[in-house]
């Protein structure tokens, strides 16, 4: 029998929601023998960013170090549970595009994200939520936690 899921992507932006997604991914990966890819994108744009934004190279490197530290803790936790886990930090303009590109490139067969907030009507007109953008455009299954 083929594995239910092989490569699980957890977009991580430091929020409780993304932590919840990771916490769900670890036991799931253990039971189906899957690998976890943690992805954090440091966004260049400022308004309604899903991930943290940083404009200058210096700030980007500073931010990267903080994120790397968080990723190491998460990787250690996953590895203790016997799960292969990789840390990925990218710089980009739109979180959803980076998530979708990463999923395509790494043959991801499950994305796990959490529904954390409801955007206001005005916000939704101008900026589609990252979650909505990902689940509408991804080619692979996406598990949305509440």
């Amino acid at each position: 029998m083929t594995s239910v899921f092989k490569n699980i992507l957890v977009p991580f932006n430091g929020t409780k929601g993304s932590q919840k997604a990771f916490n769900k991914a670890v036991p799931l990966a253990t039971s189906v023998n899957a690998s976890i890819f943690i992805l954090t994108c440091i966004e260049k744009r400022q308004i309604f960013s899903f991930f943290k934004f940083k404009a200058s190279n210096e700030e980007f490197e500073k931010e990267r170090k903080i994120i790397e530290k968080q990723h190491i803790e998460m990787k250690t936790f996953a590895q203790e549970k016997g799960v292969v886990c990789s840390s990925n930090i990218v710089e980009g303009d739109h979180a959803s595009s980076e998530i979708l590109n990463f999923a395509d490139k790494h043959k991801i067969d499950l994305i796990i994200m959490a529904r954390t907030k409801f955007s206001s009507h005005k916000e939704r007109i101008h900026y589609q939520s990252t979650l909505e953008d990902v689940f509408r455009n991804t080619a692979c299954p996406i598990l949305i936690l509440v």
């Binding site: 239910v4 039971s31 509408r136 080619a139 299954p141 598990l143 509440v146």
Partner: protein, 145 residues
């Protein structure tokens, strides 16, 4: 991952894909699987008398029942506990969500049509409505998988 999985089916390929993924999960985690069809207000009963309108609803329900039972029977070899349910609700999203709330569903697996552009603005999406309001995790499957 889940004990009670709900798969809303709309008789399309998208429903089949969701069901296929749900079967894989149910087999792995020994979960109970429920196939659900919501008969909405899209049955055109205009110009019909009440008796005929009721007959049209019954016909639709029987058609749905046959379809879901066919899927259930064709998957008997998978050793998964599958049940079939048909409900009436003017809103498909509300029908799915109220069924999930009342039946201790802990995972909804639903296929997404992935409409984009103008169609998305006009039509919206059942999957989108379910994701927005669901009280349990939702797994959305796509056609290309």
């Amino acid at each position: 991952m889940a004990q009670n999985i709900l798969v809303p089916h709309d008789f399309t390929d998208f429903g089949d894909i969701a069901f296929k993924k749900a079967i894989e999960i149910a087999k792995k985690f020994n979960s109970k699987l429920t196939l659900l069809t919501v008969i909405g207000s899209d049955i055109d009963t205009s110009g019909m008398n009440l008796t005929r309108a009721q007959e049209a609803h019954d016909e639709e329900e029987n058609k749905a029942k046959d379809f879901l039972n066919k899927i259930k029977n064709s998957n008997q070899m998978e050793n998964v506990n599958i049940s079939v349910n048909i409900i009436h609700n003017s809103s498909v999203v509300d029908g799915i969500l109220s069924f999930a709330d009342n039946n201790n569903i802990d995972l909804i697996v639903i296929g997404s049509h992935g409409r984009s552009g103008f169609k998305k603005l006009v039509l919206g999406s059942v999957a989108s409505g379910v994701v927005t309001k669901a009280k349990c995790p939702v797994l959305i499957t796509k056609k290309s998988t």
